[in-house]
Every structure is written in C-alpha cells, then in structure tokens.
C-alpha cells in the first residue's frame, strides 16, 4: 500500500477527532539549526479537551516541535496557533509546560518552587502558595512543602515540578517525555492525573517514545520521524491503517481448501495468518467448511498502535523520511 506523503498526511489529518475547537493548530512548521533540519513541515491539530500524544524515536523532532508550539523558539516557516493565538507567550497563563530536562532551583523550598512556577504564569505568589499546599496535600507530600528541593528524592522533585506546571490551572498542559525517569507506580499515578485533567476539560499533549502510554491514554497522536509527521489523527484511525489479522487453526494440514486462503497467508506454527479480507471472513469460512478443512479456531486480531507505528514509520522510510536523526542538508 504505497501512498504519497501528501495523501498520507491528508488521510491522517482527516482521521476524525471530532468537531471540537482546536487548542493547537500547526501547519508546515519548519526549524533548522545551522545545517541541521530538525523539523520539516509538521502539521498538528489538537482539539480542546483531548489527550494527544506526539510519538517518535529520540531525535525525531518531538521536543523542537513542542518548543515551537509553545513559542520557546520560533519556526523558520509555517504557522502555529494556540487557542487561536499566534504568539503563545500572550496566553502563557493558559499553558502549563513540563520540559524533558527537569530542573528546579535546589535551594528553593518545594512550596516556593510551585508558587514561583505559578508566578511565571501570572498567578499571585500568595495564591500560588495556597494552591501549592493543596496540591502537595493531595499528593501526600504536605510534609515536603518546607523542604528544600535539594533534600527531596528525585521522584518527589519531579512531582513538585509537575505540580508547579499545574498550579495556575492551565487549559493546555504540555508534557515533554513525562514518563521518563519514573518508576511503574509513579507512571501509573501520572497516567491517572492526565486522565483526570482531561476529564476536567484540560487539553493534554505529551511526547513519548513509549507507545503503550500513548495507546492507553491518547485520543489522537502525531507520529513524528526524521522531523516529519507521516501521520496525525486519531489512535483508532492509526490502528485501522493496518488490516486486522486473521488467525486460523485447522485440523487438516493440507487440502484443496487452501486455494481459498488469501494470497498474503503465511504459516506460523500450527496457525495460518492472513489479513482480514475486504469482504469479511464469512465467504472464506463457507469455503473452508465446504473443503473440509476442519476449523479448530479462528480469531480476528486488530492491530495495536505499536504495529501501526512500525507500519507508518516503515512507509515513512520508503518515502525518504530519514532515519529519525534528522536530515543533513548540503
């Protein structure tokens, strides 16, 4: 199934994420660093209230894309709008951002760090302290409020930074690789927090190179590789890119009935594996029964996001998307 990049982009972006207003809209974002093309024509549309994932390998351009969306750096070409604003700094109060590189002032107390991060987004310091204490209490960290960051464990410091990201109650939360460095328990907590934010109407966009997080959480994803986005749309539509696989086990090992199997059938041990035919399995079943294949089991397995990612990234490679490390210009 070869498809030109433009066709794929259109297909991906057309994948239905509803008709809600957009929290983020980016078209044709390009960013170069000297001779290094980090991002090359990225399109992303994130509806308000969605949990949206930016998937890609390390060095694919995820962080640069997020930084452009947030106005930390300006794109060389293309447009970005956050809640309809061209300049994200104008609506900094609506945005919370957790960068990939976690950082806090080591000498600052946890409560002051949270209040300071709120103040950066326009929240008065006193209000920030009050809310910060509530957030710390909600995360069973009230005892750490007056402790300096340098005296907290890494996990606690990360939680403090996350709470600082949320203290001003943003409408859009951008998390760059939020799960990296967290143990399984804290990853679970973070997933629950992201779901709760979305339930409250907050738009959450996060980057990750771990597909399972995106698969469990996201309504929409943008797959990014080599600075390009070969797919952006709903997770469901991404999974539908790969036909469901049929897994068939028969009592008879061979026979004329095998002529009825689709052309892409392959044997895996005792099983026959093939893509779900366009007309469904019913016509095939009838032929297998008539041919006395002796059907022991038959299951239809839908592709996961991981398979879809591999499938799309493979296509991307075929369309000269690069190897994920960016493209060197000469």
């Amino acid at each position: 199934m070869d498809m030109a990049l433009g066709d794929r982009e259109q297909a991906g972006n057309a994948a239905n994420l509803g008709t809600r207003p957009l929290a983020i809209e980016a078209r044709g974002l390009v960013k170069r660093f000297d001779d290094f093309l980090a991002v090359d024509g990225v399109d992303i549309s994130v509806p308000e209230g969605a949990i949206y994932g930016v998937l890609g390998p390390n060095g694919a351009g995820k962080t640069t894309t997020l930084r452009m969306l947030l106005g930390i750096i300006d794109p060389d070409a293309g447009v970005r709008r956050v809640f309809g604003h061209d300049r994200p700094h104008d609506i900094a109060r609506l945005i919370g951002y957790l960068p990939e590189e976690r950082g806090l002032y080591p000498a600052m107390k946890a409560i002051e760090a949270i209040a300071f991060m709120g103040a950066l987004r326009g929240l008065p310091l006193a209000e920030g302290r009050t809310r910060g204490l509530e957030l710390l209490e909600a995360h069973n960290m009230a005892g750490a409020a007056e402790r300096q960051i340098r005296h907290l464990s890494k996990g606690m410091a990360q939680t403090v930074q996350l709470l600082g990201t949320l203290v001003h109650r943003p409408r859009l939360v951008v998390l760059d690789e939020p799960f990296s460095g967290l143990d399984a328990i804290n990853q679970g907590k973070l997933e629950r927090l992201i779901r709760r934010l979305a339930d409250e109407g907050t738009t959450v966009i996060f980057s990750t190179h771990v597909i399972h997080h995106a698969e469990r959480l996201c309504e929409g994803v943008a797959i990014i590789a080599g600075g390009k986005v070969p797919y952006a749309g709903s997770v469901e539509a991404a999974r539908d890119r790969i036909p469901a696989q049929v897994r068939l086990e028969t009592r008879a090992r061979e026979g004329a009935w095998m002529q009825a199997l689709p052309k892409d059938t392959r044997r895996e041990g005792d099983f026959f594996m093939f893509s779900l035919p366009d007309g469904g399995v019913e016509p095939l079943l009838r032929q297998l029964i008539a041919g006395d294949a002796g059907i022991l089991s038959l299951s239809i397995e839908r592709a996961g996001l991981h398979d879809a990612f591999v499938h799309i990234a493979g296509e991307a490679a075929a369309a000269e998307l690069g190897d994920g490390a960016g493209e060197e210009l000469n």
Binding site: F33, D34, D35, A38, N58, G59, K62, T63, T64, R67, L70, G71, I72, I73, D74, F83, H89, D90, I91, A92, R93, L94, I95, Y97, P99, E100, E101, R102, G103, L104, Y105, P106, A107, M108, F116, M117, A119, L120, R121, G122, L123, H168, R169, P170, R171, D176, L197, E200, G201, T202
Partner: protein, 422 residues
Amino acid sequence: MAHTPTARLSMLRAAMVIARRDFLAILFSRSFLFFLLGPVFPAVVFAMSGGLGQAKHENKQEPRIAIQMPSADIERVLAAHYKLQDELGRDRIPHFLILDRAKGHAELDIDRALADRSGRIGATLTGTLDDPVLTGTQQRLNEWRGYVAMQLAVARDNSNLAYPALQTETITTSGAETKNRRQDTAQISMTLLFLLMMLLAGMVLSNLVEEKANKIIEILAAALPMDAVFLGKLFAMLAVSLVGIAVWFTGVGLFITLAGDVGGIGMVLAGMPTPGVGWPLFCILFVLNFSMGYLLIGSIFLAIGALASTVREVQTLSMPVTMLQLFIFFFASFVLVDGAPILELAAILFPLSSPFAMTARAAQDETLWPHLVTLIYQIAWVTLFIRWGSRLFRTRVLKSGGGGNRLPLRQRLLARWRKRAT
C-alpha cells in the same frame, strides 16, 4: 478545574518575577556573604603593603655626600649649606657626611665608600674649595651637581647675600587648581566605577551558568519572553550590586568613624573638591551611570552565557570582554587627561564608555541636561543589547532535546570554519 484568565504579564511585571526570585536567592545565599567579604581581602593586602611601605620609608636614610677637604674648607662649605638650607628648605638640598682628617677620620677611599652596601654615601666631595671634585654615579651627579656648585660658590665667595622679604598672600583655590582637582575627582570616580563593574559583572555570568546547570532556563523561556527573563536577571544583579555597594560604603564609613582614618581614606575623601554638579547630584549620577554601565556589560555577559555551555568556555569567552572593559577604562581615562572635545564626544557616544565619560563630566562640569540626554541614550543601548542577547540565547541555547548545544563551542566554531574553508 477553574482556569486562569488569559491576559499576559507585562514585560516589566514578568521581569520583576524573575528579578525578585534571583535577588532573594542571591541575597540569602552563603555566596553573597563571601561576595561582600570580597573587597576586604584586597583592602587588607593594600593596608599591609601600605604599612610595609611606611615602615620602609621610616627606615630609609637618604644618601649623603661624604666630604673630605681641608678643615677650613669644610667649615666654609657647612656654613654655606646652613645658609641655603634656610632659604631652600631642609629637604631640598643634599646633606653631608663630614670626614675631617683633622678630627681623626681616616683617608677617604672613594671607591670603597661608594661601593659600601649600606648606601649611606651617594657621592664624595674631595679636593679643595678652589679645586673641588664631586664623584658619584651619573644619576647622582645630575641630581646634585647644581646644588653642590651653588653651595661651593656661596662658601668660596663667603658673601652675605641679602634675600628680600617676600610678601605672600594665600587664596583658597584658583581656576587652574579647581580644574586639576576636579580632574582628580573624575579619575577617582571613574576608577571606582570601573572596579565595581569588574567585580560585579561576573556575577551575572555565574548566575546564568548556574541556571543552565539547573536546567530551569527552559521553564522560564516557555513562560516568559526571553527579553523579560534577561531584564529580570539584570535587574536582580543590579539590585544585589547596589546592596553590595551600600554595605561596603557603610562599612568604610563606620570603620573610619570608629577606628579613625586608617590609611588616610577619610582624608582623601575629605580632600576631594566638590564635583561640578555638587555632591548629592554627583552621587545620584554615579549610581545611574554605574547602573547603565552594569546593565550594558551585564547584557554582554548574558550573551556570553548563551554561547558557552561549560564554565571553562565561560572563562575563555569572558576574557576578551574583560580586556574590552580595561580598554574602555583606559580610553575614558585618556580622554579625561587629553581633554579634546571630539574624543570626549566619542567616549560619550560609544555605549560602553559612555557611563565613564559621563561620570567624569559630572565631576568637572555643572551642566545637567547632557546627563539626561545620555541616560536616555544609554537606556536605548541597554534595550538593544538585551534584545540582541536574548535573541542569541534563544537561537543558541534551546537547540535540541538535551537543552544545550550538541558540541563544545570550540568544535562548533572549528566545524563552521572548516565548512567555510571548503
């Protein structure tokens, strides 16, 4: 969850958020205490070297002229010496070491006497009054020949020269003296400005390097325009500097009040003539010029912080700026001494030397309006420098997911140079 309103922070409010944090963090840090104590060490060294110099001065004996002549000639030379000493002053003429053979002194061995390591004898006067011989090094002969010849002339003539009674009238100051002394005030103020800026500007750099090391810079850049971040940092450092200056000046004042004028600082300060604009305005202008100079040099240091990714790179890159500061100081000092209007205008117009030139002007000239104009001019340059620095920072620092540059600066520059060469 109730969301926050949308209106953005103004540039000044955003800068104040940064400035407040940085100011309090530095003020209540241990390093600030060491920073305050910083000038104490050079002051102690200065005081100790001053004490040593004083002791050396006290122990030092001025070399004399060893005289060996017939006794009668020696007496006449001495009479002439005392007579001239009364008119010229005791310290203005060389003194004699009398080696009168008639009084038991040994024959003078000239070579040995002059080679004596004690250094008591700088030259010898031998022969007779009619045929005197002065022996010594060329330097000594150049220095003493005239005085000795004068004394010998008076001694040989044995005349009683009548010196007329000269009426004298003292005035407190003259135009020429005021100009000279105000020039001294200007030079002292400029030197103080230079020393303070040298001492304090480096603080900006270390603060930014710390910020990069803490990886918090991206949080700041995401929330606020980089211009506001830079401005806030510079304001904080300026406030810290002003606190430092206030503490140091108060300390010096208290020290002089309680311990007396050790080292003569109080005397020097009391002896400084009133600047052209008067002391209160001069102090205000000094602080304003310091602030402008500090903001200008601070924004350059911030830009350096943007280029550098390690402390070593910071040190390498800050060296040319330090040399530039020195050059600017010497340029401003030269302009002060030279006094050429075109050079003064150049010093005022060049943004980095402008604070020095205007401080010097405040010490020497009464006119106020040029200060107002140049302050506006300097503010414009500060704005330009900050914008340039923050732009450089945005393009250089936030390049990759790692939050920093991929290669060390030297390798990056080398790669760029190679590419251009090919």
